[in-house]
């Protein structure tokens, strides 16, 4: 009885070569699961591309920042120069006006018989 059962089991569990259809299905499923699995590690070329992108972006940002700072400095310089020129204009006109007044005053004094010798 025991021998009969044992032989039946051996027969049922004997190694059997898979059918071609089964092999095809298995390989197809393995291939499909490999495609859908996310990449665990980026390749070296992808790392290089990403680094290049960041470098370019950083460079562009630096150039933009430099241009902005330069423009700001130029505006500030122009403003300082403009305010200085404005002060000089006011001072120059003050001095000129003061000396013209001196002359006008002299002319007027002379016209009423003052102390000056003047000619117009």
């Amino acid at each position: 009885m025991n021998n009969d059962l044992e032989s039946k089991l051996k027969h049922a569990l004997r190694p059997v070569a898979p059918s071609d259809a089964f092999t095809q299905r298995l390989l197809a499923r393995v291939a499909a699961s490999r495609d859908s699995r996310p990449q665990a590690r980026p390749t070296a070329s992808r790392i290089t591309r990403r680094a290049a992108w960041w470098t370019s972006a950083a460079l562009a940002a630096s150039v933009l920042a430099a241009v902005g700072i330069q423009h700001q400095l130029q505006t500030e310089r122009e403003r300082t120069l403009g305010l200085q020129a404005r002060r000089q204009v006011i001072e120059a006109l003050r001095v000129t006006s003061q000396k013209l007044d001196l002359a006008y005053q002299a002319v007027r004094t002379q016209s009423v018989g003052g102390d000056r010798d003047s000619g117009v």
């Binding site: 404005r86 007044d101 002359a103 117009v120």
Partner: protein
């Protein structure tokens, strides 16, 4: 031959010299020695670029700025050298003789000459007129303790300059120009 060459060179240079002499912009000497002696000195050099820049910073709503803006409208340059001294006779006529030498006819005409026996303050005003328009003004004011030279280049409205009286800290004197 040498005389001939000199004559040709002279003939070629003559128009250039005449043009230089007729410029409304004076060649102001280096007043370093004078400024070292002075208790206070003012050196202002404003060319057309600086004047136009200054114009942008003059506020049209402010009366003083508006007046200044109006005056500098046709002006191409303002050059001021002003010195104040602590003592009398700190400078001599020779210090500004180089300026006076440039102010000769026919390019320049003396508009006003005032001499005060009392205060010893002399003011000479010269104008350069081209096509009935003043294109240059020169002012030399010599007082015992002060020397001022002003050169304004460009179309100048003396009436406007006179109207500045009462502004820029100059007291209003209610003066009328000589008729």
């Amino acid at each position: 031959m040498r005389i001939f060459r000199s004559s040709i060179l002279g003939a070629l240079l003559m128009p250039a010299l005449a043009f230089a002499a007729a410029s409304p912009q004076l060649v102001l000497p280096d007043f370093t020695a004078l400024s070292q002696k002075a208790a206070q000195s003012t050196t202002i050099t404003l060319d057309s670029t600086l004047l136009s820049l200054a114009g942008r910073f003059l506020d049209g709503d402010d009366p003083q700025d508006a007046a200044a803006k109006d005056v500098i409208k046709g002006i191409k340059g303002i050059y001021v050298r002003s010195f104040t001294f602590d003592t009398d006779s700190a400078y001599s006529q020779s210090d500004f003789e180089a300026v006076r030498r440039q102010l000769t006819a026919p390019a320049w005409s003396r508009l006003v000459q005032t001499r005060s026996k009392k205060t010893h303050a002399d003011v000479d005003i010269y104008v350069m007129i081209v096509d009935k328009q003043a294109v240059g003004l020169a002012l030399i004011s010599s007082e015992p303790r002060a020397l001022t030279i002003v050169n304004i280049v460009g179309s100048i409205d003396l009436e406007k300059l006179h109207k500045l009286e009462g502004q820029f800290g100059v007291p209003k004197l209610d003066l009328e120009p000589q008729k």
